[in-house]
């Protein structure tokens, strides 16, 4: 057998075991070697205990799937073996913390995998290391993993240095020593795997979707982010917080989501690029203000990171069921909804969202999901130079002799927006219906003939911006990727993008040709162009991480096209290519099986 150039590994333990940092050591080693990594983080909404695991796919090409069966596994906590050993690929390798996991117990689970227990205390004592803490087992197991995968241990040592230097030389040395113990022990005591993981030696970025969204917003000119913590959107707040001083940003954790979005609207009105972000439950509290941004024509970006619902639901699991929510609000108002598909897209779409918000003076919803936001992935590069900041009709002077009209009727329905603070253009931003000046028309004049006429015009002016975005080409139809003659078309949105790529590869191996229609712009949807694409497709199957087909309902409502075959998953785990292929096969057998599960 030729040496394999990719691998799937898993690191598992309890919350508090340092699974994340072990993952970081391994991920950074790979990414610095120029390898690609995709890491899926499975954890619970609990601070200590429980089961936390990180599954990583590693290889020279971009990884789109964290895979099903891990080939190498690191186990930390005594509750880990029964959960994870059954998942290991036959013939695979399990390293475990011998201080917490009993040899007999783990080995009794199955016999077709190789077990290696590492005893931190014994090995450290033997090496005469002092001040060793039991949590440092994670550095030792990282050493085992790096050796087994035949990765470059020097790169890991370098990263350890970088990471621990602020804690002092001694700490670095100790960690190096422990890493080496694991590394050398493994070299000496284990069967080598025939792996040949070769990177291109150009260091990649290894980051989460939330990091990419935060960076995209900042690259796109964000100056103001107000939020209230809510998983899985909190990472954006955490990331941009770190840049507050260096990049002169206003980053505010405020008292609730009602405050967060209204702070952002206040900021947007003042004339800075502002955003907020939350999960579905918090977004519910923002829906009223979203309508205010629509009515007041205030640029605003709201990031909505979906998690398992309804209600508090399943905070640390994926679901894609919030399109109805993003379409909500009282009355009709224009908006734009965009769903990035992968890490690069998180970056670029976030910047685009800010541009669209300001160009059309309306609320933009950037919709992500737990997997997309919380998983880590390598990215070759993020090209900041591609980002052009377009502020639309924002004016900082008003020299006209005419009285300024904030909501002036114009040819393209977009009114010049004078920044508050400018002499001579005083005006109101207002949540009531109003005339061109922003005087309210909903009060003492409501129902009078001129107010009725104004209402008809002003409401239509706002709503026409939806079509304008399409006409200007600022809204894109879905993309059709793959062979246009394929028998099967998968329809997806959000993070499911990548898994379809894996599924297509698997299917291709089996001789089934599939292609892929992916929706990034969720509202509006350019109808004619989209229908033309559907026309090209044969058997259309949606793949959504939900039970009730959120995207299909949106497509039907917006285009009249109904998708009737669905693959769904709502157990909270992301798809994998294998999962999709299996579901497809089941479909031909019992069609409605899943829905009646």
């Amino acid at each position: 057998m030729a040496n394999k150039n990719n691998v799937i590994v898993r690191i598992a333990g309890a919350a508090g075991d340092g699974i994340q940092s072990t993952g970081e050591l391994l991920g950074k080693t790979c990414s610095r070697m120029g390898l690609h990594v995709l890491a899926y983080n499975s954890f619970q909404s609990a601070i200590r205990g429980g089961h936390v695991w990180l599954q990583m796919a590693i290889g020279p090409e971009k990884q789109t799937d964290h895979g099903e069966e891990p080939e190498v596994v690191l186990l930390f906590s005594k509750t880990s073996p029964p959960v994870h050993v059954p998942d290991v690929k036959s013939g695979g390798t399990v390293f475990y913390n011998a201080a917490t996991i009993k040899k007999e117990e783990i080995e009794s689970i199955r016999s077709d995998v190789n077990y290696y227990g590492l005893d931190l205390k014994a090995m450290a004592d033997a090496a005469k290391l002092t001040e060793v803490n039991s949590v440092m087992i994670n550095v030792m197991l990282a050493g085992a993993m790096v050796q087994t995968l035949n990765l470059d241990g020097k790169v890991t040592l370098e990263f350890i240095k970088h990471k621990f230097l602020k804690k002092g030389e001694k700490v670095v040395e100790l960690n190096h020593a422990i890493f080496n113990l694991g590394f050398e022990w493994t070299k000496a005591n284990t069967k080598p795997l025939n792996l040949n993981l070769k990177g291109n030696n150009i260091p990649k970025l290894f980051m989460s979707g939330n990091d990419a969204i935060g960076m995209g917003l900042v690259a796109g000119g964000l100056k103001f982010y107000a939020a209230y913590p809510m998983s899985p959107a909190t990472g954006i707040l955490h990331y941009v917080s770190t840049l507050a001083q260096s990049d002169k940003l206003i980053i505010k954790q405020v008292e609730d989501e009602l405050a967060a979005i209204n702070w952002a609207i206040g900021a947007g009105t003042a004339g800075v690029r502002a955003a907020t972000g939350t999960a579905g439950g918090g977004f519910c509290l923002m829906v009223e203000a979203l309508g205010f941004a629509g009515m007041g024509e205030v640029p605003l970006v709201t990031v909505l990171v979906q998690r398992g619902g309804p209600s508090t639901g399943v905070p640390t699991k994926i679901e894609q069921a919030d399109i109805n929510l993003a379409m909500g609000g009282n009355g009709d108002f224009p908006r734009f909804i965009v769903a990035p598909k992968d890490l690069e897209d998180c970056f670029y779409q976030s910047a685009r969202a800010l541009n669209i918000a300001e160009k059309y003076q309306l609320p933009v919803i950037l919709i992500s999901d737990f997997f997309l936001s919380e998983h880590f992935e390598t990215v070759d590069d993020l090209d900041f130079s591609k980002i052009k900041i377009e502020r639309g009709k924002l004016l900082t002077e008003w020299n006209s002799s005419e009285k300024y009209k904030r909501y002036a009727y114009t040819d393209d329905d977009i009114s010049p927006r004078v920044r508050p603070g400018t002499p001579g253009a005083m005006h109101l931003t207002i949540s009531d219906e109003h005339n061109e000046y922003g005087h309210l028309m909903s009060d003492i004049e409501a129902g009078l003939p001129h107010a009725r006429a104004e209402r008809i015009k002003m409401h239509a002016k706002r709503m026409r911006k939806v079509q304008l975005m399409i006409d200007n080409g600022d809204v894109k139809p879905p993309t059709l990727e793959g062979d246009t003659n394929a028998q099967i078309t998968f329809v997806t949105w959000g993070s499911t993008y990548g898994y379809i790529k894996s599924a297509m590869k698997l299917l291709e191996k089996e001789g089934t040709k599939a292609n892929h229609l992916h929706f990034t712009d969720i509202y509006p949807i350019p109808r004619e162009q989209t229908l033309a694409l559907f026309k090209k497709c044969k058997r259309i199957i949606s793949v959504e991480a939900n039970m009730c087909n959120s995207l299909c309902r949106q497509i039907l409502a917006e285009t009249g096209f109904e998708i009737t075959e669905h693959i769904n998953r709502w157990d909270g785990e992301p798809f994998t290519g294998e999962y999709i292929v299996n579901e497809l096969k089941k479909k031909s057998i019992v069609d409605k099986q899943l829905v009646n599960a």
């Binding site: 900042v218 405020v254 109101l428």
Partner: protein
């Protein structure tokens, strides 16, 4: 106080008429809110703040219509959300004078959570609550400051809830400037509003502004007869315990109601914590990331 945080040097007075809005107030004749509007226009004029450097930001209610009647920048936001909008606005353009206004329902009812947090945050803002102890715009329901037993459309058998005391609430929440005024005494209103705007930090002025249409209890006459000037009475505004002792009397309903400045302290305003970012107003910052900085940002993930 650093120079970059808004600076209140004396400026030549302007004409109050300058601040007259395009739209004539639609309040009922005799509504207390006219008094607040007039005083506010006078205060801006006397302080000499150019109208384009002011933003008046409200929620929803009769009183919250005020920004429509004054010739400054402004926002007429959602019910209960004047303070979040005002704080977002202020931090983005901190050299403007921002005044939040609204009703007792807006500020002490649906909006009271934001109020509490704004008080402890202590941003350099002025907040005027036109307190009429009733929901005016929705035609007369009980408000958080309605007296126990008051009959309204939503409490036909009498309001069962003890009213909230805005002064003790503010004192208990870390406020740095707490005052009460009554529109029937415009001289005092003007004085207090001026002091509030000059105060470097969050200033709350609970302003009795009688609703002539729906509140037949808390009338102008009632306040005329039942208020007194606490500052004239020699209260020490730096003593928070004394301020609390004075204000809690309202709750017992035995003494006359004190108006004036209850408390003022000079703790740093919120903007101080953002000195670095606010070295110039955020609206004037250049947007986006330089190529060099982009490299640094990316490097942290390598």
């Amino acid at each position: 106080m650093t120079a970059n945080i808004i600076d209140r040097k004396e400026r030549p007075a302007l004409d109050p008429k300058d601040f007259k809005g395009d739209v004539h107030p639609d309040w009922c004749p005799g509504c207390g809110d006219f008094g607040v509007l007039n005083c506010l226009q006078r205060v801006f004029a006397e302080l000499g703040i150019p109208k384009h450097e002011i933003a008046v930001i409200s929620g929803i209610g009769c009183s919250s219509n005020l920004p429509g009647f004054i010739n400054t920048y402004g926002m007429h936001t959602l019910h209960g959300r004047s303070l979040p909008n005002a704080q977002g606005f202020k931090l983005s353009h901190h050299d403007m004078t921002v005044v939040a206004v609204g009703g007792d329902g807006d500020g002490y009812g649906i909006g009271v959570g934001h109020f509490i947090h704004a008080l402890r945050r202590n941003m350099d803002l002025t907040y005027i609550v036109m307190n009429n102890s009733i929901y005016g715009l929705t035609t007369g329901q009980t408000s958080p400051t309605s007296a126990i037993g008051m009959k309204t459309k939503s409490t036909p058998f009498g309001n069962p809830e003890a009213p909230l005391n805005p002064i003790t609430l503010a004192l208990g929440s870390g406020a740095s400037f707490v005052a009460r005024a009554f529109t029937g005494n415009p001289k005092q209103v003007v004085e207090i509003y001026k002091a509030a705007i000059k105060h470097k930090g969050f200033a709350i002025i609970d302003t009795f502004s009688p609703c002539v249409t729906f509140n037949k209890v808390n009338t102008a006459k009632y306040y005329k007869d039942n208020t007194y000037d606490l500052n004239a009475a020699g209260h020490d505004t730096s003593n928070i315990e004394a301020a609390f002792t004075l204000a809690i009397k309202d709750t017992y309903g035995t003494d006359r109601i004190a108006c004036g400045i209850f408390y003022q302290s000079e703790r740093p305003c919120y903007e101080e914590s953002e000195k670095n970012t606010l070295s110039t107003p955020v609206v004037d910052h250049q947007l986006g990331i330089s190529p060099e900085r982009a490299k640094e940002l990316k490097a942290t993930f390598q």
